[in-house]
C-alpha cells in the first residue's frame, strides 16, 4: 500500500484512508428501509453472476490464480535475484516488489544454506502421474441431472487432495501424488449441498468437504484405504453474504466465503466480524467452524465459538440447526459444539450467522522490546491478569526477533537507517539489552481514538514495569505483516534445502516459559540425534493471551542437505515436539485442529469416555461414514 520510506506518515495516511472508507461505506448503505436486511436466493446454474461475484477471490479453477504446489497466489513469491538479493514479487502485499537485503545473510547464517545449492520444484503438474478417477457411475448420472457443476479433471482433483502440511507440499514439489479425490463438485447453495449429500448417501460415495484448503493437520488427505469413490465438495462458490441484520448486529453468510472477502464485503457496509486468522486470505467460514478457528483479534471479538450465533449443517441424517437466534441458551449440551471442531466428519456447514461489529474508528500498531523472553512473558501475564489485552498482543522470542529484522525491506533514506542505528544503539548499549536475548512484543489496538490512546498508555505502563521499552509502530506493523508472508517464505526455503513448519498449542500461564524452552530444546536435540547436519531454527512466540493461559506457536525449520529422507526426519521431530508439548501440559491443538496428523493423541486428550461420546455422535449422524475423511477419531 504505502511506501515504507517514512513509517509514521504512511501509517497516518493509511489510517486516514481507512476512516474515509468507513465513512464512505456508511454513506453507500442501501436505502431500502431501515431494517437493511438483505436477502439473496440460491441461484440456479447458469444464471448471470451478480456483480459482487466478480470481486470474489476464489474461482472454481483455483489454479488460475493460486500455486498448485506452494502457498498462496501464483504472482507472489520470494526469490533470490541475480544479485543474490531476496525480493518479493507481485503487487498484493506491502512487501511486494521490494528488496529485502538482510534475508540472504540471515538465511545462510541461520540454516547453513547456500544459494548455490538449489532444490527446485517440479514446474508443471503432470496429469498422467495422477491416478485415473474411480467413479460411481450411478452417482455421477444423478448428479448430472441436478445441474450442479463438477469436474474429473486431474488438476482440479490434485488441488483438493492436500492442505499445507510440509509433507503434502514436499510431495507436490516432487510431482508425487497419492490418493486424490475422484471428482470435485461445486455446490452453489445450501440446497445443492442437501442434494449432493442425499445422492452420496444413496450411492455410498465418500464426501470430503473442502473450503479454503489451508489445513495443516492432514485433514484433507484422502484416506489411502478408502475404496469408494471420493468426491471433494468444494464450498468456494457458496460465498455470499445473505443478509446483514443491523438491529442485532449479525450477518448471515454462506459457509464457503473466505475471510478476506467476508471482511471486505462487510467493510463496505461499515462492519466487520473481527475474525482474522492468519490464513484469512484463503480460509473459509465453514472451515473456521469445522476446526474451531481462532483469530488474531480474538481479545476484542472472540474466537469462532464466541462469534457464531447460528449454524446450518447438512448431514447424512438431514439438516441440523437451532430454532432461534437467542444469544445464549440452556437447552442441554450446545449442539453447535458437536459441529465446531467436527473437521468434516459429520457433514457440511452450509450457512452461518455471525456477530458483526461496526468497523473500528481507529487502529494503532505498537511494539515493546524486552530485555529477555522471561520478562516479556511476565508482562503478557500481567496484561492478561488486568484483562487489558489489546486487540492483539504477541511476543516473539529472540530468534524470531532476528528473523523479523532480516525481513526489513531496503531503506532508501539515509536518515531512516541512521535512526535505526540510533535505536539499536539506545537499546543495546545505553539500556544494556543483550541483542542475543532481547525479544519483542507486537501490539494492535483498535477502537475509538481516545480509548485506544488510553489503553495504549495502560499497556505501555505495564510493559515498563517488566523492563519493556516502546519500540515504535513500524516494528509492530511489520510483525503482523510477517504473519501473511511467512507461508510464502517456506516455499523459498524449500527451493534451497530448507524445510519447516509451524505448530501451536495452548498452555496454562505458569507453564508458558517451561514449554517454550523445553519444546525448542527438544527440537534441537531431536534434529541432532536424527543426523540433521546443521542446527535447526527452533523458535516460538506467544500469540494469544487468555485469563488462564496462552497460545504458543512454534516455528521449526532446518537445512536437510545430507539427509536421505528429510520429510521423515521432519515428521519424527515434529512428533517428538508434540509429545514434549503434551508432557509439558500443553494442549494437542489451540486452533489448527487434529485432522489425521494428531489423531493418535486424541484418546489420551479427551479420555476413553470422551472418545466414546464423539464416536457415538458420529455413528448416529453418519452411520455409513459418508463423510469419510477419517479425521479426529
Amino acid at each position: 500500500m504505502a511506501s515504507n520510506t517514512s513509517g509514521g506518515s504512511s501509517d497516518r495516511q493509511r489510517i486516514a484512508q481507512q476512516r474515509l472508507r468507513i465513512i464512505a461505506g456508511h454513506l453507500q448503505r442501501p436505502v431500502d428501509g431501515d431494517s437493511a436486511i438483505l436477502a439473496a436466493e440460491c441461484k440456479a446454474q447458469g444464471s448471470k453472476p451478480d456483480a459482487s461475484r466478480e470481486e470474489k477471490t476464489v474461482p472454481r479453477r483455483r489454479q488460475e490464480i493460486m500455486k498448485w504446489n506452494g502457498w498462496g497466489y501464483s504472482d507472489s513469491r520470494f526469490l533470490f535475484n541475480k544479485k543474490g538479493q531476496a525480493e518479493f514479487t507481485g503487487k498484493r502485499y506491502r512487501l511486494s516488489g521490494m528488496i529485502i537485503p538482510g534475508l540472504k545473510d540471515w538465511f545462510e547464517g541461520t540454516f547453513g544454506a547456500s544459494l548455490q545449492h538449489k532444490t527446485p520444484a517440479t514446474p508443471l503438474l503432470n496429469n498422467s502421474a495422477v491416478q485415473p478417477p474411480t467413479l460411481n457411475e450411478a452417482f455421477v448420472e444423478e448428479l448430472k441431472s441436478t445441474g450442479i457443476p463438477f469436474s474429473q479433471d486431474a488438476e482440479d482433483r490434485v488441488f483438493r487432495a492436500h492442505g499445507h502440511c510440509l509433507h503434502e507440499i514436499f510431495a507436490l514439489r516432487e510431482g508425487k501424488f497419492g490418493r486424490v479425490p475422484d471428482m470435485v463438485v461445486w455446490p452453489n447453495c445450501h440446497n445443492d449441498v442437501v442434494k449432493i449429500v442425499e445422492l452420496a448417501s444413496k450411492h455410498n460415495v465418500c464426501l470430503i468437504p473442502y473450503g479454503g484448503g489451508t489445513s495443516v493437520s492432514s485433514a484433507l488427505e484422502c484416506p489411502p484405504e478408502e475404496t469408494r469413490s471420493i468426491v471433494s465438495l468444494d464450498t468456494s462458490q457458496m460465498n455470499r453474504i445473505l443478509w446483514i441484520d443491523e438491529k442485532n448486529l449479525t450477518a448471515h453468510m454462506e459457509a464457503g466465503i473466505v475471510g478476506q472477502d467476508l471482511e471486505r464485503l462487510l467493510n463496505e457496509s461499515g462492519y466487520c466480524t473481527g475474525h482474522e486468522p492468519d490464513s484469512m486470505e484463503f480460509s473459509s467460514l465453514g472451515g473456521w467452524v469445522a476446526t474451531r478457528a481462532s483469530g488474531m483479534k480474538k481479545n476484542i471479538y472472540g474466537n469462532i465459538e464466541d462469534l457464531v450465533v447460528h449454524i446450518k449443517m447438512v448431514t447424512p441424517q438431514g439438516v441440523i440447526e437451532k430454532s432461534c437466534q437467542g444469544p445464549r441458551m440452556s437447552t442441554g449440551p450446545d449442539i453447535h459444539h458437536f459441529i465446531m471442531g467436527s473437521e468434516g466428519t459429520l457433514g457440511v456447514v452450509t450457512e452461518v450467522t455471525m456477530k458483526i461489529r461496526p468497523m473500528p474508528e481507529y487502529q494503532k500498531y505498537g511494539s515493546v522490546v524486552f530485555p529477555n523472553f522471561e520478562q516479556g512473558v511476565a508482562c503478557l501475564r500481567e496484561v492478561a491478569r488486568q484483562r487489558c489485552a489489546p486487540a492483539s498482543i504477541r511476543l516473539m522470542d529472540n530468534e524470531q526477533f532476528k528473523f523479523g529484522h532480516a525481513l526489513k525491506p531496503q531503506v532508501s533514506s539515509i536518515f531512516t537507517s541512521f535512526l535505526d542505528g540510533l535505536k539499536k544503539f539506545y537499546i543495546t548499549k545505553f539500556k544494556g539489552f543483550d541483542p542475543n536475548r532481547l525479544c519483542v512484543a507486537t501490539l494492535l489496538f483498535e477502537g475509538d481514538r481516545e480509548k485506544v490512546l488510553q489503553h495504549e498508555k495502560q499497556v505501555y505502563d505495564i510493559a515498563a514495569k517488566f523492563g519493556g521499552l516502546a519500540a515504535g509502530e513500524d516494528n509492530g506493523q511489520r510483525g503482523y505483516m510477517l504473519t501473511f508472508v511467512i507461508a510464502y517464505l517456506r516455499d523459498l526455503g524449500m527451493d534451497y534445502y530448507v524445510i519447516g513448519e509451524s505448530f501451536e498449542t495452548s498452555v496454562p500461564w505458569d507453564r508458558v516459559l517451561d514449554i517454550c524452552r523445553n519444546v525448542k530444546a527438544r527440537i534441537v536435540r531431536e534434529c541432532k540425534e536424527r543426523g540433521v547436519q546443521f542446527p535447526p531454527l527452533s523458535t516460538c512466540r506467544v500469540t494469544q493471551t487468555y485469563d488462564a493461559g496462552a497460545c504458543v506457536y512454534f516455528y521449526f525449520a532446518f537445512n536437510y542437505r545430507g539427509l536421505s529422507d528429510p520429510v521423515h526426519v521432519y515428521e519424527q521431530v515434529e512428533h517428538a515436539a508434540r509429545e514434549e508439548i503434551l508432557a509439558n501440559g500443553g494442549s494437542l491443538s489451540h486452533h489448527h485442529g487434529v485432522g489425521k496428523l494428531r489423531k493418535e493423541w486424541m484418546r489420551e486428550t479427551v479420555s476413553n469416555v470422551g472418545m466414546g461420546m464423539l464416536k457415538s455422535v458420529k455413528d448416529y449422524v453418519d452411520p455409513s461414514n459418508i463423510f469419510g475423511n477419517r479425521n479426529l477419531l
Binding site: D510, R511, D514, I515, R517, N518, A521, R522, L582, A583, N584, G585, E604
Partner: protein, 678 residues
C-alpha cells in the same frame, strides 16, 4: 539393559594415561598460587547469577512453601507468620553460602592435607572434560559415593582446580555443628540436612523447595550422596530416595529441559577411618563430629594412605534415562506448586534411577590389589591368620589367580603394570601394616595394641580384638563384592540346592537376592537379568555348562566355584546364627538396642566355642541388615504403637527362612512388594 548406560569395555588394568595425578602439579608449584588461581568457570547457560541470599528469598517466597505454610498453620493452630518464621529458621540452618574466597581457603588447606595423606590423587581427565561440557548445557547432579570424610570436599577441590563451577553439597547436620569448620563448609558450598526428618512436614517442604530451586535455576551443580551417608563397611548402601525425588521433580514437572547425572566413584587404597569404622561396627560409639575431635584426629595425618582415585562417570541424561519410565502428563492437572504425593510410577522410576547410580558407581570404582588379598585372607581359617600365619607364597599365587578372575568379570583394577607383581603385593601389605604383617614368608593378622592393662585380656576381649582386624579386612573385601556377587549368589544356590535345574536355581537365586537385599545392592525388578549375568560369568570362568534347562558343573571350574561360594559364606553363617537366636530366644518382642548386644554376646560365645566361624556376625551392620531383611520378608514386624522401636518376631517364619537358606526346604517365591523408601 543397564549396559547402555554403563561404560562397558572399560574393564581391565587401569590405563596409565587415563588418570592424572593432580597432586603432582601441587608438589611442583606453590600451594598459595593454586589457591589464588584465576577461577573462570563456564556456568550453566540458562543460569543468571544469583546470590545465596536471593536463592533463600526465592525459596521462602515460593508458592509451594506459602501453600505448605498456610496448611501447617491451619493444622497446628499457629499463625502463618509463626510458621513462616520457623521455615525461615530451618532455611537459615540449612542453607549454604558459597563464596569463592572460602573455596580458595579450602583449596589451600586441602592441598596441604592431601599432600600429606596421599601419594597421589588420580582423576580421569576425560570425565572432567565431559563434565565441563555438560555443566554448560543442563543442571548437573554430582553423585559420588562416600567412603571417608576426606572425600567430602574432594570434588569441589578438583572442580576448582579445573575451572569448573564448584558444587553445593548436601551434608549431614552434625557437620554444621562443628565450630568454625561448620561455617567454613557452609561457605564452601555445603548445605545441611537433618537426619531422620520423618514426618516434619515443614522441614521436608523447606528442604525440597531449596533443592528444587537450586536445580531449577542451575544455581550451581549439586552434589549429594545417593547412599545417604558414609558407608561404614565400604560396601554400597541401599540408596536413599528422598533427595533423588527432589532433584528429579523439576525434570518430571517440566521446569527444566533435562538434568545430567554424573556418578562419581571414589576409591581408596587405604581408608583413613578404617580402624574407627571397625570399632564402630563392634559397638564402640562413633565420636561426635567436633572441631576438637578433628584436631585430635590429626595423628592420622602422620600415616601414608597410598592413592585415591576419583573417577568421574559419563554424564547421563535424565531425560534419556527416564524415557518410557515416566509419563510427565501426570502433573498436568494439579498446579505444580502444590505438594503432591509421588505416584507409584514416579516412585518406581526414582528408585530404579537411584539403584542404577549405585551400580554405576560400583562399576566405576577401582579395585586395589589389597582388596583381592583381603578377600583371600578372609577365606583362610582364623587360627591360620592369628597363629600359624599364611604362607606368603600361597597368598601371592592365589591373588594372581583372583586377579585374572576379577579381570574376566570386568573389574577395573588399580594394579600397576610397571612394577613386578610381587612388588605390588608387597607394597599393598606394607601400606596396610595396621591390619597384617609379614614375617618369615608368612602373613599374620595384626592384633591391635591395647594400652597397658592391669589385668590380662579376657577371651571375650580377645574375640573383639581379632574381630576389629577381621572387620577391617572385610571392609576391603567389600570394595570388590559387586564384581563377584551375582555369580557368587548362583554358586551358593548351586551349592545349597545341589540342583542343576535352571528354574530351581533361579528361584533360589531370587530368594538369596531378596534375603541379602540390604547387603548387596541390586536394581529392582531386574532379577532375570541378574541371573543371566550370573550364569554367563560362571560359564566364562569355565565353572559351569549352561543349556536351556540346566546348569551343570564342569570339572575345571571348582576353584572358582568354591572361591565364590566362600565369599558369601560369612554372610550365610551370620544370618543363620541370628535366625537361630531369634527363633529360639524366649522373648518375642525386643528393641534394636536390646537386640544388638544380645546377638553380639551370643556370637562371641559361639566363636569361642568354635560353633561360629565368622567374626562378621559381630558387625552391627550385618545385625541391622538381618533385622531389615526379616522385616522386609515380614518375619519381623515393627510395633506401631511402640515408642522405643519395638519389634515383634514371628518365630516360625524366621525358622522357615533359616531352613530355606540351609536347603532343608525349597523356597517358594517369597512375594515381597518393591518397597519405596522415601
Amino acid at each position: 539393559m543397564t549396559n547402555t548406560y554403563r561404560d562397558s569395555g572399560r574393564a581391565g588394568l587401569v590405563d596409565e594415561g587415563e588418570f592424572v595425578d593432580i597432586l603432582e602439579e601441587r608438589r611442583r608449584s606453590s600451594d598459595l598460587g593454586h589457591a589464588l588461581r584465576t577461577f573462570n568457570p563456564h556456568p550453566y547457560q540458562g543460569a543468571s547469577p544469583c546470590s545465596a541470599a536471593e536463592l533463600n528469598k526465592a525459596v521462602l517466597e515460593s508458592q509451594y512453601l506459602r501453600y505448605v505454610t498456610k496448611e501447617i498453620a491451619m493444622e497446628t493452630g499457629s499463625s502463618v507468620e509463626e510458621v513462616r518464621k520457623e521455615a525461615c529458621g530451618i532455611l537459615e540452618e540449612m542453607s549454604q553460602n558459597l563464596q569463592l574466597g572460602f573455596i580458595r581457603l579450602m583449596g589451600y588447606t586441602l592441598t596441604k592435607v592431601f599432600k600429606r595423606l596421599f601419594t597421589s590423587i588420580f582423576v580421569n581427565m576425560e570425565g572432567l572434560n565431559t563434565l565441563q561440557q555438560a555443566i554448560q548445557e543442563t543442571p548437573v547432579i554430582l553423585m559420588p559415593n562416600h567412603r571417608s570424610y576426606v572425600d567430602f570436599l574432594i570434588v569441589s577441590y578438583i572442580l576448582f582446580t579445573y575451572d569448573i563451577p564448584v558444587p553445593v553439597i548436601a551434608a549431614g547436620i552434625p557437620l554444621a555443628g562443628m565450630k568454625m569448620v561448620g561455617e567454613i563448609l557452609r561457605r564452601s558450598g555445603a548445605f545441611f540436612i537433618r537426619r531422620a526428618i520423618g514426618s516434619d512436614k515443614l522441614y521436608w517442604a523447606v528442604l525440597s523447595e531449596y533443592v528444587k530451586a537450586i536445580v531449577r535455576r542451575g544455581y550451581a551443580p549439586m552434589e549429594f550422596y545417593v547412599e545417604g551417608l558414609r558407608s561404614r563397611t565400604l560396601k554400597s548402601l541401599t540408596p536413599k530416595l528422598g533427595m533423588m525425588h527432589m532433584v528429579l521433580e523439576p525434570y518430571f514437572k517440566g521446569e527444566v529441559f533435562d538434568i545430567t547425572f554424573v556418578p562419581i566413584s571414589i576409591s581408596y587404597d587405604r581408608v583413613l577411618e578404617e580402624s574407627l569404622l571397625a570399632h564402630e561396627l563392634l559397638g564402640v560409639p562413633k565420636p561426635k563430629e567436633s572441631t576438637t575431635g578433628l584436631l585430635k584426629a590429626s595423628k592420622v595425618l602422620q600415616e601414608d594412605y597410598g592413592t585415591m582415585h576419583v573417577n568421574f562417570g559419563r554424564p547421563l541424561s535424565v531425560r534419556q534415562l527416564c524415557h518410557g519410565k515416566i509419563n510427565r502428563c501426570q502433573y498436568n492437572l494439579i498446579p505444580r506448586d502444590l505438594p503432591q504425593k509421588p505416584t507409584a510410577e514416579a516412585q518406581a522410576c526414582v528408585s530404579w534411577l537411584a539403584h542404577l547410580m549405585v551400580r554405576i558407581q560400583e562399576e566405576g570404582s577401582l579395585i586395589s590389589p589389597w582388596s583381592l588379598m583381603a578377600c583371600l585372607l578372609l577365606q583362610a581359617p582364623i587360627t591360620v591368620l592369628t597363629e600359624e600365619g599364611l604362607l606368603w607364597q600361597q597368598l601371592t599365587e592365589k591373588t594372581l589367580w583372583l586377579r585374572k578372575l576379577a579381570l574376566d568379570y570386568g573389574a577395573r583394577l588399580n594394579w600397576s603394570g610397571q612394577a613386578p607383581d610381587s612388588d605390588v603385593m608387597s607394597s599393598a601389605v606394607a601400606l596396610h601394616r595396621s591390619v597384617v604383617h609379614r614375617k618369615a614368608g608368612r602373613v599374620y593378622l595384626v592384633q591391635e595394641e591395647e594400652p597397658a592393662r592391669k589385668r590380662p585380656i579376657s577371651p571375650e576381649e580377645g574375640v573383639t580384638r581379632t574381630a576389629a582386624a577381621v572387620l577391617m579386612l572385610a571392609s576391603y573385601r567389600n570394595q570388590l563384592l559387586h564384581v563377584f556377587v551375582r555369580p557368587a549368589l548362583l554358586a551358593t544356590a548351586i551349592h545349597i540346592t545341589k540342583s542343576t535345574q535352571r528354574s530351581e536355581l533361579f528361584t533360589f537365586f531370587c530368594f538369596l537376592q531378596d534375603l541379602f537385599s540390604y547387603e548387596f545392592i541390586f536394581i529392582p525388578d531386574k532379577l532375570s537379568q541378574d541371573f543371566e549375568e550370573a550364569c554367563l560369568l560362571l560359564k566364562k570362568c569355565g565353572a559351569v555348562h549352561i543349556s536351556q534347562q540346566e546348569v551343570t558343573l564342569s570339572d575345571v571350574g571348582l576353584e572358582a566355584l568354591s572361591f565364590l561360594q566362600a565369599l558369601l559364606q560369612p554372610f550365610i553363617d551370620s544370618y543363620q546364627m541370628m535366625f537361630g537366636y531369634l527363633s529360639e530366644e524366649e522373648v518375642d518382642v525386643f528393641t534394636e538396642k536390646q537386640f544388638l548386644p544380645a546377638v553380639r554376646n551370643l556370637a562371641t560365645k559361639l566363636i569361642l566355642s568354635g560353633e561360629l566361624h565368622t567374626y562378621e556376625a559381630l558387625s552391627s551392620d550385618t545385625q541391622k541388615n538381618v533385622l531389615s531383611a526379616l522385616r522386609r520378608l515380614e518375619a519381623v514386624t515393627k510395633l506401631r504403637a511402640s515408642e522405643q522401636n519395638e519389634y515383634k518376631v514371628n518365630k516360625a517364619a524366621v525358622r522357615k527362612i533359616g531352613d530355606i537358606l540351609s536347603g532343608k526346604i525349597p523356597p517358594q517365591m517369597l512375594q515381597t512388594t518393591p518397597d519405596a523408601r522415601l
